[in-house]
Subunit: 313 residues, 2 copies
């Protein structure tokens, strides 16, 4: 029996994986906003390092109430922003058997959805991928693509396993991790320092951030704070991780972080998902995080000034 | 007898005060660099809130070796930048009776000059002024103008008193402070947070920095670190100062800091004078300054990226 999947948020990451799941045989519909007309008319074209392909969604809808099927999975791939109310957005399409998959960045981003849908299975998923949407309906897949997913807050399930199998059938490496929150802390170790610093240091590449000694120090101190916090939250991170991250980031081809790309395009930044939630957890657990607080205080203002500029453009 | 004064660095601040000293009857010469031709030809025009006037220097020179008089005072008003070697720049014009006046921003900026000219009197001076140089040879004086000066590292002297009198004769409010290093720490309380944050937060005005709660927190924490450091260095700052600064900054007309203006014009920033020296002092005195370190790590990279961009323009 074919699985029914509804994608919420047709940005680069969501569109790429929805197209892959469709290739694997699922019936994948897409909820679009600003790109509705284009995707409705021409579907989504994916230019990928592993071959180009076209994705015609089962249905293209503009709000979840229009979804005519019973969703086995609703995959939420929107940005995590204060102005996007995910429970409200997906509610009309959620049925008792629906597993809600949060394919998003950040830490503790599952809480509002888990609280709103206490009877539904929540699957938390993180993507390691380099992918862009140069224009509506066109996705460029540059590199990587692995997904790690698991039940939230922990464990695994038939639904999680089935989704992972489907991804793998589509050629997407996918691991099920019964401690997905630990995996999120692990991803935050890179995201929390490098995404904000790239914006705040005046448009810095990955290479510039690790080559400048005083800047690298800021990144390392942020990682130390995240590690201390993760440990106290019950999700310890191996001590060697920081050195590995620095070494790996030095070895990468110099590139712009996704947050810097968003900033340069005048798009809203995931300040709270990456830093705001981290700081709230730190206050709750009484762990001092002055470096995270510095980045947060600067980035929240940079984001708000950037949004105003963009509206005035 | 008329006093001989040589100004080194004909930026906005230096030119303004040199012009005032000339009005008061001193023989003021100016060492210019990129603006040499224009100042040589037409002098300096000052548009001031307290009346416009023209200043014709006694001599306009392009290196200190050309100075033909015995300088009573050499006033150094250059930016404090690693690439500007002040002792080398002024050496040919320094005679045994010359007092060297450092009219510059930052903390511990006197050290290299004091070490190079052990037999000369060093006067340290800080200016509270809003003044710009829209183009070479033209100075716009917007607001304020007070100077505080004193012997470095402490005390007062006939030369310091005479210079203060000359300033006052020219209508410039000028106080002699026998503890000028404490006065520098006091000025750093504003400069260390607000100049860097205005750049790092994506071009923030004074009002935006104090209105945003998480950004204001960064500013306050930086001030707490500076106060702790000043105390340990033997220059305690009253505890009420932080609240006063926040209140005063809220009350100001929203404006761009001088560092933000420099950044937007692609000019080098005084990263070391304001933050680098602060951090070196903190390491020496073993005071933790994570907020200052965060700003320093971000600003040093932002400055270096901005310099490269400017060279490529």
């Amino acid at each position: 029996m074919k699985l029914n999947i509804l994608l919420i948020g047709s940005g680069a990451v969501g569109s790429y994986y929805a197209a892959r799941l469709s290739q694997a045989g699922a019936r994948v519909s897409v909820l679009c906003r600003s790109d509705y007309d284009i995707v409705k008319k021409q579907g989504i074209n994916v230019t990928s390092v592993s071959g180009d392909y076209h994705f015609t969604p089962e249905a293209v809808i503009s709000n979840a109430g229009e979804y005519g099927s019973q969703a086995d999975y609703i995959i939420v791939a929107t940005k995590v922003l204060p102005e996007i109310n995910v429970p409200e957005l997906i509610k009309p399409a959620v049925s008792p058997a629906t597993a809600i998959v949060l394919l998003q960045n950040g830490i503790e981003i599952e809480e509002p959805v888990a609280a709103a849908f206490t009877d539904n299975e929540i699957i938390s998923a993180i993507a390691f991928i380099s992918v862009h949407r140069p224009e509506y309906g066109i996705i460029q897949h540059m590199d990587y693509g692995r997904i790690v997913l698991g039940m939230y807050p922990s464990g695994t399930s038939g639904k999680a396993d089935a989704l992972a199998r489907l991804f793998r059938n589509a050629g997407v490496p996918c691991d099920v991790n019964p401690d997905i929150v630990s995996a999120r802390w692990g991803k935050l170790m890179w995201n929390a320092p490098f995404n904000p610093i790239s914006v705040l240091a005046g448009g810095a590449t990955t290479a510039e951030m690790v080559e400048s000694e005083p800047t690298r120090k800021v990144a390392v101190e942020v990682m130390k704070e995240i590690a201390a916090l993760a440990e106290k939250a019950g999700h310890p991170i191996p001590v060697s991780t920081i050195d590995t991250i620095i070494t790996d980031t030095k070895a990468m081809a110099p590139s712009k972080t996704s947050m810097l790309q968003d900033y340069e395009r005048g798009r809203p930044l995931e300040v709270d998902a990456i830093l705001g939630n981290t700081i709230r957890i730190a206050h709750r657990l009484q762990v001092p995080v002055p470096y995270c607080e510095s980045l947060y205080g600067l980035l929240s203002l940079a984001d708000s000034i950037n949004r105003v500029k963009n509206r005035l453009r």
